[in-house]
Amino acid sequence: MSEILKLVKMDLIIIKNKSVLPFVFFMSVYMFLGYIISPYAVISPVLFAGFMIQPLFSIDEQNDMSRLYGSLPVSRRNRAIARFMSAGLITAIALVISMIAAFHSVEVGWFKELNPELYESYCIMQLEGITIGIVACFIYAVVCFILGIQYTLLYLFGASKEAFTMIATFLIILGFIIADGLLFDGKTMDIFSNVLSRLMIKSEMLFYIVLYGASVGFLLICALISGLIMKKREI
Amino acid sequence: MKILLKNKSDVPIYEQIKEQIKSQVLEGKVQENEQLPSIRQLAKELKISVITTTRAYNELSDEGFIISVSGKGYFVAPKNNELLRERMIFEMEQAFETAVESGRNAGLKDEEIIEALKGIMEG
């Protein structure tokens, strides 16, 4: 485990000096816009956080860093697992920051005067139980789902295939939804929504536990699969 | 002790080391019982392989010019060392042969050559 943490630290050092500034800029712009639009818009930077560490894959490939990893006392499996953990960690940090900002934007209340219709929908959603926390949790789950699939594909097809894997991920998800619609009449999606609504209504805490748990769990499964791919991989 | 190697020479490096240490011992340029650099130290200073310096030291030790003290290293053999003495006598005889040949080539008779030798010893 400590080996994985050391690898995560390494990922963070590499990315900190590469993408942090543009990313922080992005996040700030979005959050600021969110103050004017709606608290839900403030949380959307979370969507981009995970993608911030994507350059790690191309950096690995361009500098043939398998040589460095090959000389360090680490296993290939742990390299893959650490990569997923880095994604989950960065996304979680972005989540916390944007949630704090979202709550703050409610306090400050600019969107209430500037966008009264959105304020109205905000209030309605609040009443229905779709709180900021719940939306944030949901977005986190979606991001983990997307990143989990994309990173696994990157390990499968090679670190340089960023564009390909992004499109492929999108297609897979789309394909899944379409297949569900065609084969099961959209039943799977229905079951999903039902479960989520029930949880939401029953207990917000339970919702968080289940969805965060599922997100991290999904990341872990993808991490383990990628670990296996890496182990067998011919270099 | 200074050793200067000629990389482009045909003489193998271990030979060059041997020759230079030998002549320094025979010419008295190094004190008896003086400690030599270790095999690895010498390799590092001359930027050559350890096996080369090992071979040079082993052969020098076999020929009696240096002695190896286990645990301590290599030292210039003391002058009363039998092998060294024999070696020095051999060197002297070689020098005599060369001198005699040169003298004869110059047309000197044997008695004249001996006179010249005495002259050097007294002078």
Binding site: I14, N63, R67, P73, V74 | K44, K47, S49, V50
Partner: protein, 287 residues
């Protein structure tokens, strides 16, 4: 004799190339030069040792430990220096240290900084801006900062100017002056090896062509030249890389056979470059 590295019948196949039964060993405390044409398998061998490439069969032992099972302990005790920077170029030296030191139990920060100073490397410049020589010295500084007992260098001198190469040799001979340290040094610059290597392994087309002491291989072969008409057939058949030009022929021969040569044929000592050239010519003939 204690062996720091023992490779036994290493086999690894790719589509266009394979390592076939590569075996050689390095005794502790010595330097082994690893030579061969480009594509002869040197880098593949090193990658197999490190587990970067999955070997098909064979045993690799480092410090008496299996390279697959005990890789963690092995990698604590070895360092690898590559021909090009293996770190992200946008980082600075302080980032490299902070990235790497937690992986090594024996990381010596003081020693690392002493070496950085000694090599005159700028701590606040992105390493991508370093010259080739500086990049090599950075990798060496890392290699020497965690008390590694074996340093593996994969063509570290390619593209280096003679001054930097000489500095590298200085560093390596200093390292090997401790008899607990060993070096495996793969390179094209055979002049360096002819000086400091104790042992040499020659790879040709994925196979070991020679492994043994440097002194032995440097003495073993001669290059012969002359008129084809003067050369007896049995000797031509025993020669390596025989080629007839308009002005005469050239070939390599084992020194022992030289006594059977007629007077008209000239010969001189074959150095490592010659050996590589002639065995390549011989391989080309046999294709």
């Amino acid at each position: 004799m204690e062996y720091i590295m023992k490779i036994d019948n290493l086999c690894k196949s790719y589509k266009a190339f394979s390592l076939k039964n590569v075996s050689f060993s390095l005794p502790k405390g010595y330097i082994m030069g690893f030579v061969g044409q480009n594509g002869s398998g040197k880098t593949t061998t090193i990658r197999s040792m490190l587990g970067i490439a999955n070997k098909d069969s064979g045993n690799i032992e480092l410090f008496g430990l299996d390279n697959v099972k005990d890789y963690r302990e092995i990698k604590q005790r070895i360092s690898v220096v590559f021909d090009s920077l293996c770190y992200p170029p946008h980082l600075k030296i302080k980032h490299i240290e902070s990235m790497l030191k937690s992986f090594y139990d024996k990381w010596d920060s003081e020693e690392f900084h002493r070496l950085i100073k000694k090599f005159k490397l700028h701590e606040n410049v992105k390493i991508g801006k370093f010259s080739k020589g500086m990049r090599m010295k950075l990798m060496i500084a890392v290699a020497l900062s965690h008390k590694a007992e074996l340093i593996i260098l994969d063509e570290p001198t390619s593209g280096l100017d003679p001054v930097a190469r000489d500095e590298l040799l200085d560093i390596l001979t200093e390292y090997i002056s401790d008899e607990n340290n060993s070096i495996l040094f793969s390179t094209h610059i055979t002049a360096d090896l002819e000086r400091i290597a104790d042992y040499v392994t020659v790879l040709n087309d994925g196979e070991v062509w020679y492994t043994g002491t440097k002194d032995e291989i440097m003495d073993k072969y001669v290059v012969i030249k002359g008129d084809e008409a003067d050369l007896p057939d049995e000797i031509m058949n025993k020669s390596i890389g025989y080629h007839n030009y308009r002005n005469g022929f050239e070939a390599m021969l084992e020194r022992e056979i030289v006594s059977d040569l007629p007077e008209e044929i000239e010969y001189e000592k074959a150095n490592l470059d010659d050996i590589l050239i002639y065995i390549a010519k011989e391989s080309a003939k046999n294709e």
